[in-house]
Structures are given as structure tokens and as C-alpha cells.
């Protein structure tokens, strides 16, 4: 999706229940909405294993968005932390890593995401 269109888009969960978070960008949508792909154009995997909630009303001029690496994403409701997401991989507790497989790979992936964003 184009950057500008993204910046214009607002994604609202249609229901307050059964929210699921995108593993790629933490976007929260209700489970029925996940029949559609993620508006940020990232992976279509999603999970209910998330914590916290951020509502972005401006993803470009927001420290929260910067901290969450969500600059330039569509405006909408996001999770603060998504378990199993590469974005939050670094914050995962030690014992979880074993299940994750190769640690290094995870971290590399994080960097990729950043650069992706910058390039865009």
C-alpha cells in the first residue's frame, strides 16, 4: 500500500471482543476483520496473544509511534506488545527463545523491518 494512502487510512476494529494482533505490525482488528489482509501490507498472521493497546491518531509525528516502530503505518488501534511478533522479539524473556529457534535470525529480522520502513 502506498505511504500516503496509508497515512490517510484509519482502521478501526469492528468489535471490541476477539481482537487479534498482526504479527507483522501489531495492528489490532477483530477476528472477522482478519479475513481481509493487514492494512499495513505485512504478514497476514495474527494472534490473540498480545498486551496493551495503542491508538494512533498520527503515526508520523508521534513519539509513541516512533518507539513502537509504527511510524507511517495506518492510523488505528495497535497492540503494545505482540507475543511471537518479530517486532517484540527482543523483549521476549529468555526461556521463550528456545522455542523460537535461531535467536540471531530474529534480531536480523528486526533490523530488516526498520530498514524497510526507512526505505519506504
Amino acid at each position: 500500500m502506498d505511504v500516503k494512502v496509508k497515512a490517510e487510512t484509519i482502521v478501526l476494529p469492528t468489535s471490541e471482543r476477539q481482537l487479534r494482533a498482526c504479527l507483522g505490525c501489531r495492528l489490532l482488528k477483530s477476528s472477522s476483520q482478519w479475513r481481509e489482509p493487514c492494512e499495513n501490507g505485512c504478514s497476514e498472521e495474527n494472534t490473540s496473544n498480545f498486551k496493551g493497546m495503542v491508538c494512533f491518531m498520527d503515526t508520523s509525528d508521534s513519539w509513541v509511534a516512533r518507539w513502537q516502530r509504527s511510524e507511517g503505518k495506518v492510523r488505528g488501534v495497535y497492540a503494545v506488545k505482540v507475543y511471537g511478533s518479530a517486532l517484540d522479539a527482543q523483549a521476549r524473556p529468555e526461556d521463550r527463545r528456545e522455542d523460537m529457534g535461531d535467536e540471531e535470525k530474529d534480531e536480523e529480522f528486526v533490523d530488516d523491518v526498520d530498514e524497510d520502513y526507512v526505505d519506504r
Binding site: 500516503k4 496493551g52 493497546m53 495503542v54 513519539w63 488501534v77
Partner: protein, 991 residues
């Protein structure tokens, strides 16, 4: 990118101002031409968008953003030559930060048509003049040219670009919030509604976004984390923006917002990993449904750890098959028994393979394992993971049937509960892991989790450090311990049994006198004996409290977060602290006993019929016609039991009543006619007769030694007008003695041998005095004949005065009768020198528990006399822990008991009319009179003792623990454990 933060607008205008005000030409010079070229297409539009509405249509943004991007790229390449100048001004860097990513964009703005901006500036001053002025000041200070300021932005842009490219680490630095970022505000909201509020904010945002421009949101984001319970964070440049955007939003208290300091912003957005990750075999508690509160064990985790398969003891409602839903009770937890179910309902069960291996029985869509546990897959959020603290009983239910529980689980159950042993200096411990396994030692130092142990090994005589986890406490049978956590916290007791394997101790509680099971890690060795908890909140043990409207109950046990209470039917209920209502005081309540005697609180009554017949108690509370009585013997309910008033008889009233009824009904008792007041007055007058206007000496307390005259008689105190001061003081009755009494005791103390007191004529001469001073009219009128006391010869008038405790107490009360022998001792010689009621008294120091050591022989009972009828409590103060079972007047010292004679230790080996045959250590045997023998009061644990009083007289036991006045002993023959007063035991020396 497309949003225009106000700050940025301001900054841009600042620069416009410079260009206008100060040096137009300079500006022109510095601005590189190529930039202008870049913006051919977009500049007009972009500029308009920004300065005009702030937000424009999609097209406008596109242009602008494109322009910005291009500019960013170029910044690096096209202007390196101007960089050196930047270093001069720190301010630039700051400014650069302000502009942030948008530096390039700003640049572009300046590059765009100057004229337009010059025009604009005039207007802009009004709304954003602050920025302009501020920047202007700086500018003046620096003495820099406008263009250099621009360079600052360029540089910042470059830095930012570099940062992104040099990797995540540096990028993270850039993520840290700065002064130029929007601020975080903490806004309270309804607890538990944080997410709801966030979604509501988002909805309002979406609506406003489509509406009027001036209504649009200026806030940047809103968020909540699990840690921000009751709060929502809002990101905005100004709190005004929050007010504007979010006022009157349901559930949000905008007016209470506060700013989050810069250094706490990251923490606010960080979710701490507080949940210990669930692992299989971990213990949890169910939070929902019929299993709410039940202990469960995790078998496996599914769906990214959001679901867990647990096993739990099933609660199957066999009877109600889904019907009668309304009034369903929680079914009993019991293991599933396949055979039984098959019998009732053949073919209803099915067997299916389990994912974890093995087979499960399926019945009515529920799965059960072979041990009978229900296997259930639930969401992790419905499990309580923290503070599970399985109780021993619970866990044992799992263990008893859960034979499939891995025996190789390291540390068994304890390790899962993560119970950290609380080591204290001096504890004995054992190393349970590592090279030094099984070494025992004593803790010499505790620093955090590091325990320094001095090993009990000859070859290792230096202290070693261990981690808490490497050590295990050693508690042995017979140790006296204090429980330091859990339900029985702060109780103390004696360890009866140790289950080495599981570290579970059976402790005989000093408080409840029952065996309780606790983990070894939860106890410490302690010599102290706890009285148990007796207050919680504003409530005390034995308070009468309201539990529901009009329902009054008496607290019989205080627990850590609630009470056990007794209602008027004698049933015991549990009550949580928050359910307990106001206290009720029975001070002014009265009731009437079976003989229509008025009874009030603190009176002692005998129960003459019903379930509690034969018991005696002190009235603690009166509720309508129910009496809550207190009798120390009833340990299970902390001494409280409840009877109807008509089933009781006021102590000391029995005989008198009958006499009166038949002989003296012509003189009706005033107390019956006007209950409260009259009785009070009567009491006063009764007592007053004894001491009123009497000259007394105060023998204890602050005014000890003062003489005075009793001017008023209260229930338990006298008002004494002191001779030395023009003052009236209130003195406890037992702290006051008449002058004569003092004289007497002084004389008696001068006796060569107090035990031979029976021979001194002086004592005889005291008797009349005692009649006057010690005896109270009540005695005269009601229990004149003293038939209430078992031992003494009834006809002696003085006997009453001398043993108030005896009739204050009950004949039937075996244990708590306050050692009547002791009280009677001084008197006995006067009345019946030959009676057998005094066998032990010469040995027991008659002063000890009763007199508080303030006087001579028998003073305490003497002075207590007057107080007794009014306050039937004196048996309490006077008999601390006395548990004399002796009412049968058993005489003499039994054989094989250690005694002291003339400082020499000996053993009684026989008795005759002339005395006791005592065998001394030398082997010599002598016959000694009882009065010259002193019994040895054993207190050492493990010592063998003979019971010398009560109905168990003659039995032999072993001391398990001892306190000042009582001993816990275990009988040798039937291993029963009993509590005795110290005086009832003597050291046993087998022949």
C-alpha cells in the same frame, strides 16, 4: 509526514521572519538553486496546504511528501561544504531536533517562494509569535546568518539518516523521547475500562476526522498497558489538546491529567514480563466456572501459550442433568470413577488416545485420565498463576490418586510453588544439591539469597556460602517451631512428625491444640509460645458482631483474613472481615436464669440442663435470652459456647434460692423488682459494708504505700481518699489492704517457718478480723455455708472468706478450678488440721501465682474475697493456666517422684502415716514429713513425669514442651497428649 505539528509550523515561520526582517539578500544567496528546481511542481500546493488548513487533500500531501523525500536525499549530498559552520552553534542542533524528520520539508518551504512567506509572516506573528520571537533571540545571540540555521536542519536530517543506516542500536537512541517530541499525559479512567476508553477515543477520532477541521484531533496517540490500571496515556503536545479532543469522553477523567516526565516515558510504554511463563506441571488455580478456586496442574500448553490443558479434580453433578439450573450447588470435588459410572450408565464412556500419550476416558464430552482427574483445556487467562500457594490438603488429594505424578520431579511439589525457605541465623540446615550434598550445618549469616553455613563436620571448619535453593531446613520431632507463612501464620507449636520426603511437618499448635500440617520451609524454630491471633481490623476474639441484619454472632476464632463465628444455635460459621458489621456490647444487657436471677455480663453461671449441662462459664455476651458463655476448657471454640439463659443458674445461687423460696419469700429480693439499678446499688452497698470508709493501705501500683480511706466502692475498684494528698484515686480492689491485714502479714512473715504456720497462735487471732474485712455480705446471704467448696469443713465461717475462687468456680469444672488447696492452705490449720486437703501445699509456694508476691501467706485469696461476688472473674486472674483436674482430694505424694529435702535430692519410695520414705542419692532412706519435702517441677523436654493431681494421677508421661505454667505431655501408655499445669506434675524416677 503529512500532519503539521504546530511546532514545526512555528519553526518554519521563524525562519521566514529572519529572511524578511534581517537579510533577504543573504537568504537568497544561501539557498541553493537546485533545491528550488526540485520543487517545481509541488511547492505552491504544498505551501498552501501547510499554512492554510494544515491538512489538505491527498494530492497535496503527495506532492509535499515527495518533495520532502527528495530533499532528504539531497541534503546529504548537496551541502557538505556548509557543514563546518554548524559546529559553532549548539542551538542549531537543538533546533534541528525540533524539526526532526521534517527538516527537509522545512527546508523546502523556505526554498519556496519567499514573497509569499514574507506576507504570511505578518499574520503568523499573531498566533505563533512566540516561536518567532524565541528563535529571534537566539539568532541575535548567535550572531549567525539565517542560512546557517537552515544548515542546522540539514545536518539533523543527515544525522537522522545516518542513524537509520548505522543499525538498530543507534536507531534505538533516536527512539528515546526528547524535548521536541509530543508529551505523554497520564489521564485517569475507570478501572478496568482502559481498553474500552482507548477504543472510544479512536472512534471519536474517526468521526471527527471526517468532520470540521477545527474539531479534528490534535492528540497523537493514546495507549494503555496492563501496568497502567485505571489510567490511559495520551500523547499530545499540550494538555489543551487533550481537553479539546477528549472532553466529556465517557470513562475518562480528562481534568485530572498529569504530565509524564520525559525519563519515564519509555517505562510507561514498556510491558514488563511479570507473568512467569507457564510450564507443564506447574500448579495453578482455576478462576472461573464450577472449578473456581480449585487447584489444577498444567499438563501442556497450546496455541502460543494462550491455552492450557490442565488436570483438576472433577466436580461432576451426577444428579442434576442440566436441569434445575437456577439453584445449582457446586458439586463435590471427587475423582472420576469409571467403574461406577459404567455401572449406572453402561456404555456411556469411551476411550480415546491422548495427545500426550496414553488414553483418556471420555464421558459426556469430558475427558478423564486413568487416575480420575478431569482433563480440561482452558484459556490461560482463566487461570490464576500467581500466589497459587497450594494447601497441603489440596496437594495431597492430587498426590494420593495421582500416582502417575512423576516421581522424578526435582524437589517435588515445593519447587513448583517456588517457596523460598526463610532461613534465619542459627537454623540447622542441610545441603541438598551440589558437591557438598547432605552436609549439615548451622546458619551463621543470611545476606539476601546467600546463606553462610558453618558445617557440622570436623574436617570442614570454615563457614561456607550457599544459595537458598541449595539448602533445606532441618526440623526434628519435638522442636518447638513458629509458623511464618500461610494460613497458620504466627502460630507456634511442637513438631510431632516430620515427613522427610515432602518436607511436611505435623505441628501440634499451641493455639488450637490440634495437629496441623505445614511445610518445613514455612517454620522457624522458636521458643516463644504464641497466643494466636486475637484481633483483626477492629474486631477482637470474643466480640459480638453483626453478620447480616439482626444476626449477631460471637467471634470464636480470628484468622488471617476472617473469623470463625458462633451463632445462637452454637453453629460455627466462617465470616470474612468485610462481611462483619458493627460490634455489639452486652454491657447493659440482662437476662434471667432458671431461678429468675438476673444475670449480666461477667457473671458466672452453671448450665443445669441441655446440651451443655454441667458446664460452667462466665457470661461474655447476652443476646435476647441467649447467653454466650466462656469456659477455658473448650479449646475448640476458644472457650465460647451458647446456652439459653433459662438453662443456667447463677453461680452461688442454688441453695440460697431454695431456702429463700420457702423460708424467706416474705422478704422479696429487691433485685428482682428493679433489675438494673437496684442490683447495682445493692452490690455497692453490699461491698461497701466491707470496705467503705475503711482505712486501707495501697499495696501495689503507682500509689503503693499510701494510706487512705475508701470513699467509694465500684465494681472492681475503690475510690480511695489518700491521707497524704487531698486526692481521690481509683485503685483496684486487690491492690488495697486494710491496715490490719498488712499488720498480720508482716507478723506472719516474721514467723520462723511459714509452713509451720498452723502452730502459731497468732494466726488464730486473725480470724475475726477476716470475718469483717474479707467476707462480703453476699457470702453471708447466699453461700454462707460454703458448701460450694469441696474440701473444707463447711461449718467454718472463715472458709468462705478464704477460698473465694473455689465457689466462684464450679464443682464440675475439672481443669480450671484454681487449685483450691493452694487457696485454702493458710486457712486449713484453723479449721481442720487433720483434713487431707492440703497434701501439696507446703511444697507449692502458695504465694506464687496468686498473690503476685506482695504479701504473706494467703493474702491474695483473702483480699480477693470481697471482689469475688461482683466480678466472678477472679478465677481468671488467679488461675493463669491452671489446669488442675483434681477435685477428688487425692492425697499425698505418689511414689517414685523426685523431691528436695533440705536441699538434697531424693525420691519418694513409699509413704506412711508418719511421713514419706525418701531415698536419697547416697542410697540413704529416711522418713520425712510431707511439709519438709519439696516437689521438683520438671520443665525439660523429654523428661519423664508423674501426674500427681487430677484423675490421671499416677500416670506417667514425657514432657513434649513446656511454658511457664503448663506442660504438654505425652502419656507413656496410650501416647495421648495432654496439657497440664506445672504443679500437677512431678519428676518421675523409676525405682
Amino acid at each position: 509526514f503529512s500532519r503539521i505539528p504546530r511546532l514545526r509550523v512555528g519553526v518554519r515561520r521563524t525562519r521566514n521572519m529572519y529572511s524578511g526582517d534581517e537579510d533577504d539578500s543573504n537568504m537568497q544567496e544561501e539557498v541553493p538553486e537546485d533545491d528550488e528546481n526540485d520543487y517545481d511542481g509541488g511547492e505552491e500546493k504544498g505551501g498552501e496546504d501547510e499554512d492554510g488548513e494544515g491538512e489538505g487533500d491527498g494530492e497535496g500531501y503527495e506532492n509535499e511528501d515527495d518533495a520532502g523525500d527528495v530533499d532528504e536525499d539531497e541534503g546529504e549530498e548537496t551541502r557538505p561544504s556548509k557543514r563546518p559552520k554548524l559546529d559553532r552553534s549548539h542551538f542549531f542542533e537543538n533546533e534541528a531536533e525540533v524539526s526532526g524528520d521534517e527538516g527537509g520539508e522545512d527546508e523546502e518551504d523556505i526554498d519556496e517562494g519567499e514573497d509569499e512567506y514574507d506576507q504570511e509572516f505578518v499574520d503568523s506573528r499573531n498566533d505563533d509569535g512566540v516561536f518567532a520571537a524565541e528563535a529571534g533571540v537566539h539568532h541575535a545571540f548567535q550572531g549567525e546568518q539565517l542560512s546557517k540555521e537552515e544548515l542546522g536542519y540539514v545536518q539533523s536530517l543527515e544525522q537522522r539518516q545516518e542513524a537509520y543506516q548505522t543499525g538498530a542500536h543507534e536507531a534505538k537512541d533516536k527512539r528515546i523521547p526528547g524535548m521536541e517530541d509530543p508529551k505523554l499525559f497520564l489521564v485517569p479512567c475507570k478501572i478496568g475500562k482502559e481498553m474500552e476508553v482507548c477504543l472510544r477515543i479512536m472512534k471519536r477520532f474517526a468521526v471527527r476526522e471526517r468532520g470540521r477541521a477545527d474539531k479534528r484531533f490534535l492528540i497523537k496517540s493514546a495507549f494503555t498497558t496492563p501496568a497502567s490500571k485505571g489510567y490511559v496515556y495520551i500523547e499530545a503536545y499540550k494538555s489543551d489538546h487533550i481537553q479539546m479532543s477528549l472532553q466529556k469522553l465517557e470513562g475518562l477523567k480528562v481534568w485530572k491529567s498529569s504530565i509524564v516526565p520525559l525519563d519515564q516515558m519509555v517505562a510507561a510504554l514498556t510491558i514488563k514480563e511479570t507473568v512467569h511463563m507457564l510450564r507443564p506441571k506447574q500448579w495453578v488455580r482455576m478462576k472461573q466456572g464450577v472449578y473456581k478456586g480449585d487447584l489444577a496442574q498444567i499438563l501442556s500448553l497450546e496455541d502460543q501459550d494462550t491455552k492450557a490443558t490442565v488436570r483438576v479434580i472433577p466436580r461432576i453433578d451426577f444428579a442434576a442433568k442440566g436441569q434445575n439450573r437456577g439453584r445449582r450447588r457446586k458439586p463435590q470435588a471427587a475423582l472420576f470413577n469409571k467403574q461406577e459410572v459404567e455401572q449406572v450408565d453402561p456404555g456411556s464412556t469411551d476411550r480415546k488416545p491422548d495427545l500426550r500419550g496414553g488414553f483418556l476416558t471420555v464421558w459426556r464430552n469430558s475427558k478423564f485420565d486413568d487416575a480420575g482427574f478431569l482433563i480440561k483445556t482452558v484459556r490461560v487467562s482463566t487461570l490464576q498463576v500467581d500466589a497459587v500457594n497450594p494447601r497441603v490438603e489440596e496437594w495431597e488429594r492430587f498426590r494420593s490418586k495421582g500416582d502417575d505424578m512423576d516421581p522424578d520431579q526435582e524437589g517435588g511439589f515445593i519447587s513448583f510453588t517456588k517457596k523460598k525457605t526463610d532461613f534465619r541465623k542459627g537454623d540447622r540446615c542441610k545441603v541438598v544439591s551440589g558437591d557438598l550434598m547432605n552436609i549439615t550445618g548451622r546458619v551463621t549469616k543470611v545476606v539476601g539469597d546467600t546463606i553462610t553455613v558453618y558445617p557440622e563436620l570436623e574436617i570442614l571448619n570454615e563457614p561456607l556460602d550457599f544459595n537458598v535453593d541449595e539448602l533445606k531446613k532441618i526440623i526434628n520431632e519435638g522442636d518447638h517451631v513458629k509458623i511464618i507463612s500461610g494460613k497458620h501464620k504466627n502460630e507456634t507449636g511442637l513438631v510431632l512428625a516430620v515427613d522427610e520426603e515432602e518436607d511436611i511437618l505435623t505441628v501440634f499448635s499451641d493455639v488450637s491444640s490440634v495437629g496441623i500440617k505445614v511445610y518445613a520451609s514455612n517454620v522457624v524454630e522458636a521458643a516463644e509460645v504464641s497466643a494466636g491471633r486475637d484481633t483483626l481490623g477492629n474486631y477482637r476474639l470474643h466480640d459480638m458482631v453483626m453478620l447480616g441484619p439482626g444476626n449477631f454472632v460471637v467471634i470464636v476464632k480470628v484468622e488471617n483474613n476472617g473469623f470463625k463465628v458462633m451463632d445462637t444455635s452454637g453453629k460455627i460459621h466462617s465470616a470474612r472481615l468485610q462481611d462483619v458489621g458493627k460490634k455489639r456490647f452486652s454491657r447493659n444487657s440482662v437476662a434471667y436464669d432458671s431461678q429468675q436471677n438476673q444475670v449480666t455480663v461477667k457473671d458466672s453461671v452453671n448450665v443445669i440442663e441441655g446440651e451443655h449441662q454441667g458446664k460452667k462459664g462466665e457470661i461474655k455476651h447476652i443476646l435476647k435470652f441467649y447467653l454466650f458463655l466462656y469456659n477455658r476448657r473448650l479449646t475448640s471454640t476458644s472457650g465460647i459456647f451458647v446456652v439459653q439463659a433459662r438453662m443456667t443458674l447463677l453461680v452461688g445461687q442454688r441453695l440460697r434460692r431454695h431456702n429463700e423460696m420457702h423460708d424467706q419469700f416474705a422478704a422479696p429480693r429487691p433485685r428482682m423488682q428493679r433489675p438494673r439499678m437496684v442490683s447495682r446499688r445493692q452490690r455497692n452497698s453490699n461491698l461497701g459494708e466491707a470496705m467503705f470508709q475503711e482505712r486501707v493501705i495501697i499495696v501495689r501500683g503507682r500509689h503503693k504505700g499510701f494510706t487512705g480511706i475508701v470513699k467509694d466502692v465500684m465494681e472492681t475498684t475503690y475510690q480511695v481518699e489518700l491521707d497524704a494528698k487531698p486526692d481521690r484515686v481509683t485503685v483496684r480492689k486487690d491492690w488495697v489492704k486494710s491496715r490490719e491485714e498488712v499488720e498480720q502479714s508482716r507478723q506472719r512473715r516474721q514467723e520462723v517457718n511459714p509452713y509451720l504456720g498452723r502452730e502459731t497462735p497468732l494466726i488464730g487471732s486473725q480470724t475475726p478480723r477476716r470475718d469483717d474485712g474479707g467476707r462480703t455480705p453476699i457470702h453471708d446471704s447466699s453461700i454462707q455455708d460454703g458448701s460450694m467448696t469441696p474440701g473444707p469443713v463447711p461449718s467454718t465461717p472463715s472458709s468462705d472468706a478464704f477460698n473465694p475462687a473455689a465457689y466462684a468456680d464450679d464443682d464440675n469444672n475439672e481443669i480450671y478450678t484454681p487449685a483450691p488447696e493452694d487457696a485454702q492452705t493458710p486457712r486449713t490449720p484453723l479449721t481442720a488440721p487433720g483434713t487431707t486437703t492440703t497434701p501439696y501445699t507446703p511444697q507449692t509456694n502458695p504465694l506464687s501465682p496468686y498473690t503476685g508476691g506482695d504479701g504473706g501467706l494467703g493474702e491474695a485469696p483473702f483480699t480477693a474475697g470481697p471482689a469475688t461476688p461482683v466480678t466472678p472473674t477472679p478465677n481468671t486472674p488467679y488461675t493463669p493456666g491452671v489446669q488442675d483436674e483434681d477435685e477428688q482430694g487425692d492425697g499425698g505424694i505418689p511414689n517414685d517422684v523426685a523431691v528436695i529435702y533440705n536441699g538434697q535430692r531424693g525420691v519418694v519410695r513409699g509413704g506412711s502415716s508418719s511421713g514419706y520414705e525418701v531415698e536419697f542419692q547416697s542410697g540413704e532412706r529416711r522418713t520425712v514429713t510431707e511439709s519438709k519435702l519439696q516437689l521438683i517441677r520438671p520443665s525439660k523436654n523429654g523428661l519423664q513425669v508423674k501426674i500427681i493431681k487430677g484423675r490421671r494421677r499416677g500416670q506417667i508421661g514425657k514432657i513434649l514442651s513446656s511454658s511457664e505454667e503448663s506442660r504438654v505431655i505425652q502419656l507413656l501408655d496410650d501416647h495421648e497428649m495432654l496439657v497440664f499445669e506445672a504443679a500437677a506434675l512431678a519428676e518421675y524416677v523409676p525405682a
